[in-house]
């Protein structure tokens, strides 16, 4: 049970992010919500690679027959973080532009495109 705790924490983060997306009206907070989901998914990916008593997956450290931590999830997480930075930056940039046009970040007032 206690071994599954990291996964539970990740899912709580994802759920919090979704809750933010549905309830918060401020565009910056919505971006933070995306950030929360992203952290949850990234944590989940990294915790998948954990091996009890494992050694960092560096070639020179590797013993002949000991367990090593899986390097793939770490590579995936790094990639995912980089992608996350790009999407967050893009969203924040659009939020800035929207603010310049409208003078507000309230999602309820940014509804020109409807119907």
């Amino acid at each position: 049970m206690i071994g599954n705790l990291p996964f539970v924490v990740c899912m709580i983060l994802v759920a919090l992010g979704l809750w933010t997306l549905v309830t918060k009206r401020n565009l910056i907070k919505l971006v933070i919500g995306i950030g929360l989901i992203e952290s949850g998914v990234n944590l989940f990916l990294v915790s998948l690679g954990y091996v009890r008593g494992g050694i960092p997956p560096i070639y020179t450290y590797a013993p002949a027959d000991g367990p090593m931590v899986l390097p793939t999830p770490q590579a995936l997480t790094l990639t995912s973080i980089v992608i996350g930075v790009a999407t967050t930056a893009l969203m924040l940039a659009f939020a800035v532009v929207i603010y310049r046009h409208k003078g507000t970040l309230d999602a309820r007032k940014i509804r020109d495109l409807r119907g």
């Binding site: 997306l21 995306i34 992203e38 995936l76 995912s80 790009a86 999407t87 659009f94 495109l113 119907g115």
Partner: protein
């Protein structure tokens, strides 16, 4: 050189896109020539790959191996990233390549220099690279990366006109929803990775036994990809995005939704193969029906020409989902009608890319000549722009499925296939086609008919070339459908319908 065609089709636009701003510093002509060369090169690569795949079967290309055919590392485990191009992937690649060949010459003329033409071309080429990556990859995480590449490039294009207030709004909403869909897709990939320790699509597919974790990740894939493919009730971003993006690039956004739909088919048919039961099929069918009804009704009340065409484009997604969904419902028994419906659904992807693409180009030409897309202000443009009016009429009729145009050829397959499953499905689909005909008759009347309207300036010949290419495509596909169905649609549909074993064997051997 030709051995590396699949990866070159992705790598050249990826690097070529970033080279565009550098070359623009040299000279604008150099940049334009470069863009055309890159797109032409992609077209040639995509065509070559398709010809190879349709004649000689699945093409596996392993990255980072000494020999690109060496799929398994020592120990019999596919550890490297690989591109797995089967007939369906090659088919999507063909669509993307053709649309790019049409869209980029148009874009070169359409976007003014002072509105950041260089950057818009860069984003367009990156979007093309992402689309081809999604179509060709045989690796789940790689698919996610290309999904995000297309999301970022697409949102850059959607919000390109930052000096208007509507475009950034559409871009923000789309980016938020794309991020959510991408992250949930990644969560699904992570669950599968945690269970099987592999990311290779074929390897994971061979391992899947239908445990709770498998089904959980299938649900995450479904939700994420349905959002990206603009299926109702998560289609809200699509009309905003298509409507606000520069018309020359809206074509590529349409292909982007289609390739997301292709990703969904890949997951349902290849990755989950026998496991995706009739329940998922019925979900896809019912969401498809909902999409077409909602989008057609919403198109009826639009007063902006771009947004009206955008809703028309969304409704066509519903037809593809209906066609392939019927196949999915019938997958376990594999009756003939399921395959007919799937042929229709797959064929409709090609037809939709051409017809919706042509409509967006016409909208772009109207906006170019008139400076507005508001149907209340437009009218009588048929006198000044007869070519555009004729092309718009042709595309509207094709989209509404009027024989003998290409839209009818694919829709009759969908109708006949779905009729055998349940006549109600066919009835709703036919009704929506009639509604769409009404919608586009209204758009045509509003924009092109009536007393002569003032037209500023002449339509450049490049516009007419792009429009003409699509018109020829629509006529050829409509008048000689048998050839295309036989040569490219049937292999593509077969690759989904019963090609799973071949797909796995191509990667895992045996």
């Amino acid at each position: 050189m030709s051995v590396h065609a699949p990866i070159l089709a992705i790598a050249v636009p990826l690097l070529g896109g970033f080279a565009v701003p550098l070359l623009a510093r040299l000279h604008r002509k150099v940049r334009d020539l470069w863009v055309l060369l890159v797109v032409l090169f992609v077209g040639v690569c995509v065509g070559y790959v398709a010809a190879h795949v349709f004649t000689q079967g699945i093409w596996v290309y392993v990255l980072g191996a000494k020999n690109p055919q060496e799929t398994l590392a020592p120990g019999g485990f596919p550890i490297r990233i690989m591109l797995t191009v089967d007939a369906m992937s090659a088919f999507m690649g063909l669509i993307a390549g053709f649309i790019a060949l049409v869209a980029f010459p148009f874009a070169l003329k359409y976007i003014p220099e002072e509105e950041g033409k260089t950057l818009s071309l860069t984003l367009g080429i990156l979007l093309l690279a992402g689309i081809l990556g999604m179509a060709y990859t045989g690796d789940l995480f790689n698919f996610f990366v290309f999904l995000e590449v297309t999301s970022i490039a697409a949102c850059g294009i959607i919000g390109f006109r930052t000096w208007t207030s509507r475009a950034p709004e559409a871009a923000f909403k789309s980016m938020l929803l794309f991020s959510v869909s991408g992250l949930f897709f990644l969560l699904g990939v992570a669950l599968l990775y945690g269970e099987y320790g592999a990311l290779n699509l074929a390897y994971v597919s061979a391992q899947i036994r239908g445990s709770v974790v498998d089904r959980l990740s299938l649900a995450l894939f479904l939700a994420g990809l349905l959002m990206k493919a603009a299926a109702a009730p998560v289609h809200f971003w699509a009309p905003d995005a298509y409507g606000e993006a520069p018309a020359a690039k809206a074509l590529l956004l349409v292909v982007n939704t289609q390739v997301s739909l292709y990703g969904l088919w890949r997951v349902l048919f290849t990755l989950y193969g026998g496991l995706s039961d009739a329940g998922v099929g019925w979900l896809v069918v019912s969401l498809g029906l909902l999409t077409m009804v909602v989008a057609a009704l919403m198109a009826l009340v639009q007063t902006d020409l771009g947004r009206l065409v955008a809703y028309g484009a969304v409704s066509q997604i519903g037809y593809m989902m209906l066609g392939v969904g019927v196949g999915l419902v019938a997958l376990s028994g594999r009756p003939d009608y399921g395959f007919v419906a799937m042929q229709g659904g797959v064929f409709h992807m090609l037809n939709d890319a051409l017809t919706v693409g042509l409509l967006f180009l016409c909208v772009g030409a109207v906006e170019w000549a008139k400076g507005t897309r508001d149907l209340r202000a437009l009218g009588g443009l048929g006198h000044g722009l007869p070519e555009v009016a004729l092309a718009f009429l042709l595309a509207s009729l094709a989209l509404a499925g009027i024989p003998p145009l290409n839209g009818f050829a694919s829709k009759i397959l969908i109708y006949e296939g779905s009729f055998r499953l349940s006549p109600i499905l066919t009835a709703i689909a036919v009704l929506c086609s009639i509604l769409l005909l009404a919608v586009f008759a209204r758009a045509f009347q509003g924009a092109f008919l009536g007393p002569r309207g003032e037209v500023e300036g002449k339509i450049p010949w490049v516009f007419l070339l792009s429009i003409g290419l699509l018109v020829v495509g629509i006529l050829v596909l409509g008048l000689v459908p048998g050839f295309f169905v036989e040569e490219i649609v049937t292999p593509a549909a077969k690759a989904l319908w019963q090609g799973r074993a071949l797909y796995l064997a191509a990667v895992l051997g045996g």
